[in-house]
């Protein structure tokens, strides 16, 4: 049972509060690949709701900044119509999966990093974590997707994929540790789900993977996700089982429910202008 009042405002209203009390809205952009129809929907929403700024995020997504709280459910409704869902940019949850164009376009690419990134994001979106969780997939060791500063980073090599964990590009920069090398996309998926599940089950709330791994040691993480293959499969199974219930777009749930969207409007409106004084 989820108690919304126990959550910070961002997770309660599925958007990021800004310094002036307005909110920012970030739809999910699978692997950073966007369709013209989605761009059009974002542009239309930005104009319709007079969004002051549309900005690219560091994670290859688009951020609508300065949305008024009472407009949030309608913005989501409009974005939902174009197939866009919440990007969880506000949550202790799976955030972005950054990719490079990989072997489909790049003359240096040795694996299809874009497709794998999209696959990983489709599999892991909606999952709650102890803290925010970022991923990236690079199509060659030049690592244009900067996978070596992500919580789970994948870097293509000629023979398959390098799996890297515990990176952080924030306050305290920490490059990833090498977890192991694998050959197939299916293996990447299994290790990714297992790593996430071990982190979710054992890290403290608000502990990023970087500080978690420094606390428990890389050897511990390797023991349960690499050396013990049975445990790895079991962790991955538990992750996928919980995903069956977690993958519900909070925007769609709220935009279509007058009861839920009531919280977003003032209880009483007395000034004629209808604007906020904050």
């Amino acid at each position: 049972m989820d108690d919304p009042q126990s959550r910070f405002v961002n997770e309660r209203v599925h958007a990021n509060i800004q310094k002036d009390g307005s909110f920012s809205v970030v739809p999910r952009v699978w692997g950073g690949v966007v369709k013209p129809v989605e761009l059009r929907a974002i542009a239309d929403a930005a104009e319709k709701y007079r969004v002051p700024m549309v900005k690219f995020t560091g994670g290859q997504r688009l951020d609508l900044l300065g949305v008024r709280k009472e407009d949030l459910p309608r913005v989501w409704g409009d974005l939902n119509k174009a197939g866009l869902i919440s990007g969880y940019a506000y949550g202790k949850a799976l955030r972005t999966v950054k990719t490079c164009v990989g072997m489909e376009w790049c003359r240096f690419g040795v694996q299809d990093s874009t497709s794998l990134g999209i696959k990983l994001e489709k599999l892991t979106w909606g999952s709650w974590m102890p803290h925010k969780f970022k991923m990236a997939v690079s199509g060659c060791p030049r690592n244009c997707a900067e996978a070596t500063i992500k919580d789970f980073g994948v870097v293509a090599v000629e023979s398959g994929w390098e799996l890297r964990v515990g990176g952080n590009g924030g306050v305290k920069i920490r490059p990833t540790d090498l977890l192991c090398k694998v050959k197939t996309d299916q293996e990447v998926i299994e290790y990714c789900c297992a790593f996430i599940q071990l982190y979710r089950e054992e890290a403290y709330y608000l502990e990023r993977t970087s500080t978690w791994i420094e606390r428990v040691g890389l050897a511990y993480v390797k023991r349960w996700t690499v050396e013990d293959s049975e445990n790895r499969r079991e962790l991955a199974r538990r992750f996928l089982e919980s995903q069956r219930f977690a993958q519900k777009d909070p925007w769609a749930e709220c935009a279509g429910d007058p009861e839920k969207s009531r919280e977003f409007v003032p209880i009483k409106q007395l000034n004629r202008a209808g604007y906020s004084h904050v």
């Binding site: 009042q5 910070f8 405002v9 919280e263 007395l270 000034n271 604007y275 906020s276 004084h277």
Partner: protein, 105 residues
């Protein structure tokens, strides 16, 4: 001139949260605690003007969502070591309805 205004029913505000009244000159946050006490404060943190209505309510206090300043709902004062104060407005309830003495324009 201040005026008593009916703003809604107690059950319109979920416990441990707040709803906004957009008055003539200011936004007012009307809070409901776990013990069903109702408080009305100006929806503006004395620190950096954060919307207190979006904060987390605990006991008879609210934590501002912007920089975690903690304010007393009873008198609007910041909990030490922080300083500052936001306006509070008298509240009364009658037959489940909430009335707030709202400031005029």
């Amino acid at each position: 001139m201040s005026e008593w205004t009916e703003v809604g029913r107690i059950e319109d505000i979920p416990r441990l949260s707040a709803r906004v009244v957009r008055a003539e000159a200011v936004d007012v946050a009307v809070f409901r605690t776990a013990r069903d006490e109702i408080f009305a404060l100006r929806d503006r943190c004395p620190h950096k003007s954060g919307p207190l209505s979006q904060g987390i309510v605990h006991g008879s206090r609210v934590t501002c969502p912007l920089h975690n300043l903690v304010l007393e709902l009873t008198d609007g004062r910041a909990a030490p070591p922080d300083e500052g104060c936001t306006e509070t407005y008298p509240v009364k309830t009658e037959d489940g309805k909430i009335w707030v003495l709202l400031p005029g324009s």
